[in-house]
Symmetry: C2
Subunit: 530 residues, 2 copies
Amino acid sequence: SRAVEQRRREECCPHAEDTTTLSIPNYTQHVTPGVAPDLLPAKNGEEQTMQFLFEIVDILTTYVRKTFDRSTKVLDFHHPHQLLEGMEGFNLELSDQPESLEQILVDCRDTLKYGVRTGHPRFFNQLSTGLDIIGLAGEWLTSTANTNMFTYEIAPVFVLMEQLTLKKMREIVGWPEGEGDGIFSPGGAISNMYSVMIARYKYFPEVKTKGMAAAPRLVLFTSEHSHYSIKKASAALGFGTENLILLKTDERGRVIPADLEAKVIDAKQKGYVPMFVNATGGSTVYGAFDPINEIADICEKYNMWLHVDGAWGGGLLMSRKHRHKLNGIERANSVTWNPHKMMGVPLQCSAILVRERGVLQGCNSMCAGYLFQPDKQYDISYDTGDKAIQCGRHVDIFKFWLMWKAKGTVGFEQHIDKCLDLSAYLYNKIKTREGYQMVFEGEPQHTNVCFWYLPLSLRSLPDGQERRERLHKVAPKIKALMMECGTTMVGYQPQGTKVNFFRMVISNPAATRSDIDFLIDEIERLGYDL
Amino acid sequence: SRAVEQRRREECCPHAEDTTTLSIPNYTQHVTPGVAPDLLPAKNGEEQTMQFLFEIVDILTTYVRKTFDRSTKVLDFHHPHQLLEGMEGFNLELSDQPESLEQILVDCRDTLKYGVRTGHPRFFNQLSTGLDIIGLAGEWLTSTANTNMFTYEIAPVFVLMEQLTLKKMREIVGWPEGEGDGIFSPGGAISNMYSVMIARYKYFPEVKTKGMAAAPRLVLFTSEHSHYSIKKASAALGFGTENLILLKTDERGRVIPADLEAKVIDAKQKGYVPMFVNATGGSTVYGAFDPINEIADICEKYNMWLHVDGAWGGGLLMSRKHRHKLNGIERANSVTWNPHKMMGVPLQCSAILVRERGVLQGCNSMCAGYLFQPDKQYDISYDTGDKAIQCGRHVDIFKFWLMWKAKGTVGFEQHIDKCLDLSAYLYNKIKTREGYQMVFEGEPQHTNVCFWYLPLSLRSLPDGQERRERLHKVAPKIKALMMECGTTMVGYQPQGTKVNFFRMVISNPAATRSDIDFLIDEIERLGYDL
């Protein structure tokens, strides 16, 4: 059946080189097979250590080269059961006895072989795509330094880099002198969770000690198009998802401010306390930007915390051409901004920025004596760990700092502008093209281009239940074929009452117009006859 | 003043080589200075990319070699203001214009130069120490793959590795067939937070939708010696820190079960609902193991969730000699276990394990359509993202999986046994040595050895306020000198009514008896005359 599968793939993708044929360098020259690892800190382990690391780097640089090579596949798809059963000497099971270094190198090669090349110019599946070489170097260095952000003591350089970078980000948001506070967290969902926690601490600080019983019934607001992390935060932090009110949007997916105000008034009439509003700066599916200024007016009027979830759209602040889409963000009390999305920084890199100094610390500090000794020899205001809900914290800053150094602010701007140009190219190409239907009218605000592709058999079908049901199955089917072919990857999902559609997003610096053309051709090749 | 400082250091540490004299390879041969980066995906960028990555690897492997070389310093200490003012061409500030690749390489070298060598054989400052070469290779590969754990679709191999490894860990905990659930999270604090969330969901699932108002007043219990993350979780999740009851411990820092039962009864009499007990398997400061079986009896009797925080001590489960210290852990409902601590896995790598299947998913799932489409072509039970409080999730599994492959279970066991042997060596060396006083009697349960060092001037002083006050200042002073000398690093803190003492911990695979001897000599050299 593997042979059958192989044949099916070859038929399906005549132009995709099979990545399984990568040549394997003759590492056995260097690493003695079957011998237990004798790496550092073992005595006399230095030579073998260096040799082993160079072998690894050889595997990795080969992978990097292939990643940018359009004649390679994006992925070599296998089902879970196939990988679990074991692929030609690649066995995922762990055992009591050690493997040879030789086998470790094979395992590394195989891990990459059966993975997904997220840096490939035709990988468009997530908001985070691309493989920035400077960022990659930054991550390699970070791993080698292997330290922890909680104290200046063991991460002096990284702690200062974080501080300076957060300040720079706050300046770009538009807070005077870049004042405020912030921290890098393990992703946008956690950053958004921080915003809700901090807002609660600001309005009801006694919840920290007495729990939610010390507060009245608190209500949060967010768009029906917003990221699900706001809902996760409502559940986790003890508000309850029913107390998160979803706001109506216009047909472009932007919050309707009047709906917010009506729902605030309604909540107050019920005796609840409206506390927090999340405005999305670049929604996940439509790429919509909520009207922040109008929302800020309502927040001021009713004394609510304004958070802007710019996890996806925050990067547009770097572009003089596009930053107006976030106008009003300087009025926010807190902002989530993930450099690992639109700015191409390797995963993970997400910042929560807070306008008022002191609340982040106040909200989370527990003053653990074993970490944050007041009698250290240096200025302990640089020990940032007590601001976090984490204790240990991964160094996410260095790769970002290094990329900023290497590109300059202007380099990020160029990247953002280029991605938005590419999405405009895609939009203009398909908006009137036979077989395509846009999910919403007008040029997208972000790089999200949402569309249905209609196989020939559906084009003459009148709108109605049958057409909807059949159309709902088209995107999943094309996606499955794409993945089996390994030629490209793009996301799809339903949204509200809309059946499955493609959501194309561009954040990959390697993508060009030819890749957009390729995607369209590929969708048509795979979907025309469905 | 820099010259003065330099002189003071030289006097203070005649045996420590100055790391600032590292030779800098002549990278300008390869990278054209002053020219804007022309790396991939730029056209014809391949050669320069490879060259740049090899330069980086040269910097990193040099650093790795020096890390294990005892003639280098652990750190080259500078105050925050010194680093912020800029050190000889190392400027932390970000600018609008790009830097040359040449400067980027210098920045990388300087970042390492002014950092802390956490893998150095004499770095004992945290629970996470050491630099495992296989783990490092794993992290380099992880960065290169740059993907996200939320779906099988884009992380097929890593998702399966996580699943298999979690199952193996549950087997080692002792749950039948390794059944249950779990996830890798960004550190022990978040893992502990998960445990509280899951417990709440198990007993009061309606809190997810209705908030804490749907539950009675809930009470949590943990040792006064437990990690502060339990307190952080109480605050964040809406319980309130006052509803976290601290349990008394014996003089070794182990929970007194009778105190737990008394406090449970007291809470019930007040009308509160005791819900959750955290037992610590290896406390942060004393390395104490709470008596899990006796605590489990009480949890069963009063229908409370039992969590074991084995962030630090969980690694001992790998040792046939030491795992008895966690006897009863198989009765826990959830377990935190950080391979990045005692098992030497690079940061971050923390697992939350749950005995009952389904509650983790039930607690956190929000079913976001854009990520977790039900109509994918593969078995979507492998999409683990909806179990997490995160959305995007860093790949923490690969380095750990690779280390397990390379060492086998027996390799971890040997490492653990060796570290505990070393701490016994330290304990036996100082327990009766002139000038040392142990913080608690008896051989430590974990590798934590807690002691005061008394300068000569304090030894004849009678116990009392003056002695206490002076002793409180000794550890900070010695630590500051150590850091300025850069020769070694070890932690200190007060605990309860006990004034500052050293907490020595050993998890570093590079440490030997000679390093323990060195530490003792160094403390005496720096502290004798204080």
